[in-house]
Subunit: 364 residues, 2 copies
DNA sequence: CTGTTAGCGCTTTCAC
DNA sequence: GTGAAAGCGCTAACAG
């Protein structure tokens, strides 16, 4: 039915070993023999069986890329950039196949996909986006990651904090420590970025600042909120922080709803800071519907600087995360094309992009 | 080093076959034996080797999803929806792994990825987005698809026209015909949607309508342009069509540039129709920079109805393609969870979404 | 219900 | 430079 190495060997009048050597080009083979083999390969339209090769050679051309949702540009950009690096050279048989897995941010789904990838003996795994903390699966994910790393799978975290050194260092943790070290991390400076953003608002003269964010148990949520809070605290506004913080799910709809809620809590709000750009869009829609002008009546700011932010009206003030660069770097790291940063952890800078959606409050 | 079936069998005191049967659960095994095996599996943290399994059972848990670029929401949404269906049931070992491949729309890259997937003996392949026509690789892609289908890989086209019946039906096309039939197609009604959109503008009273589109050799470009032209022709405006059509690359930047060019060609333009929403955003930016109001001075329309369209100011008139539904359906088709439409081809409806960015021209 | 026996298609020593 | 043979780890008849 399907053509095998043996078929090619037969047609070329050589042994299977020789065909293999020609195909892998890692061994001296006579020029004429090589030609004969290649002709047979073409005539028969032979394509190697990746599974057989993987089994025999104990290698794999799969790399997993775990994302919350590819449809979300934040992850789409990361995945796209990573994929480009991973597939690089696939014309020459060099690259690997990127398996993009949508986890919806659930540690349970992450665990499932990691197991699936482990089954395929994936060459590497990239986990993008913040982690969920405190679920029963959370530790399991960390353990699985350590396992994978120990088995030779390259693990790269992109946009999530490093693995905890060895929380449960118990019975069998002689290895665990080294394994955690084998995991490379590209952490985003969420805290610093958020801090600078809120400072920007404070500098403009805002004092009643609402904050709309995502689920409380995500590291991204926590870090950004931390940065926001610390800026407020330094401005002597620590008290308002809690009252004017609303949690949602990072969607436009939740940004819309939360903003309405914020307006109920404090009708004299002069600024709304969103934990991401998508929420900010929802906030703008809500504000506009209430007849409030941006930024004259209320300033709005986002986070991430996704492509659409520049096209919002007015253009959205936000914090830029170099997602493309980060994804590409994660791809290179997982492919071993770039050496890991010292300590295995690098922090990706977050840059304030002050645009038209923020301005001094009316009374100022 | 890594734990194998044999290790588990040894520890459980049974044969490898029994372990396999327990794991696959497709064969009767005594309760106590099963328990003993499961305990050994857990103790050893055993995870099957997917390659060995694939080789022995001649099955694969990979499904390829080819897209132009995951970072583009159009493809991100399709891929995300498809992936959800493909991975469905992976908790119970049912689902498969979706391999998302960025082809950048190049037939050459498509061919490479298809070969890579063929290597892995992928269970199925979904190709999304329009096809490029007339390259030397174009036929090769069609041939490869037929090959894959013949070898048992499910092939689904989503957003591109069906494969030509059998252009090169020559030497070995006895099979080719059936194979093409084995390919399921979910075509988008690009032509009809584009037609209705331009009719909408015509009905509003516009007569000087510019058109900004993508590369000429893409099926999507051609179909949408066809629809636009036929509407103009019916309105007696066939002549203006060519002069007021500018090709770009579907990006925001090209939409911006092309709109400026359009304005040079006809400063009295009253409407700009873009071949997708991203171009439309660029058009809006260019118009606004020229001091023209939307829609008072110039109406703007897009295509696809991507999430950001509703947040554009003013909200963008566009043509809605049910991308999520289409992607999910493609996923179900490739998994054999849904039976193919009669004839193997289904057309996905495109719906006009008339919003605030289009209005009657000023002179009307 | 369980064990034995063959491979699946390829890579890789080890000889020649 | 090339061939023969021994697996890689698993599943699938085929016996019992």
């Amino acid at each position: 039915m399907t053509v095998t190495l043996a078929d090619v060997a037969a047609r070329a009048g050589v042994s299977a070993a020789t065909v293999s050597r020609v195909l892998n080009g890692n061994y001296p083979v006579a020029g004429t023999t090589r030609e004969r083999v290649m002709r047979a390969v073409n005539d028969l339209e032979y394509v190697v069986n990746g599974h057989a090769r993987a089994l025999a050679a104990a290698t794999s051309d799969l790399v997993g890329v775990l994302v919350n949702d590819v449809a979300d540009p934040f992850f789409g950009i990361l995945a796209s950039a990573a994929q480009t690096e991973i597939g690089r050279g696939s014309e020459h048989g060099g690259g690997k196949l990127a398996v993009v897995c949508n986890t919806g941010g659930s540690p349970e789904a992450e665990l499932n996909y990691l197991t699936l990838l482990q089954r395929q003996r994936a060459a590497g795994v990239i986990l993008t986006g913040g982690a969920v903390e405190g679920t029963e699966h959370t530790h399991a994910v960390a353990d699985k990651l350590a396992r994978l790393a120990a088995d030779g799978t390259k693990v790269v975290l992109c946009g999530r904090p490093p693995l905890p050194p060895d929380e449960f260092s118990g019975e069998e943790s002689a290895l665990e420590n080294d394994d955690a070290a084998a995991v490379t991390t590209l952490a985003f400076d969420n805290r610093g970025g958020a801090r600078r953003l809120t400072e920007h608002l404070l500098t403009l003269g805002h004092r009643r600042i609402g904050y709309v964010t995502g689920p409380a148990n995500r590291t991204t949520t926590r870090d950004r909120l931390d940065g926001h809070r610390s800026a407020l605290a330094d401005g002597g506004l620590a008290v308002t922080a809690d009252r004017l913080t609303v949690h949602g799910d990072y969607s436009r709809a939740s940004g819309y709803d939360a903003t309405l809620e914020l307006l109920r809590r404090d009708p004299d709000l002069t600024a709304v800071v969103a934990a991401n750009d998508t929420i900010a869009l929802g906030a703008c829609a809500a504000l506009r519907e209430r007849g409030m002008r941006i930024p004259q009546d209320v300033s709005v700011a986002g986070f991430d600087d996704l492509p659409f932010s520049i096209d919002a009206t007015p253009a959205l003030t936000t914090v830029r995360l170099p997602l493309h660069e980060a994804g590409a770097r994660a791809g290179r790291l997982v492919m071993g094309l770039e050496s890991p940063p010292p300590g295995g952890v690098a922090t990706v800078r977050a840059e304030l992009m002050a645009r038209a959606s923020t301005a001094p409050p009316a009374f100022a």
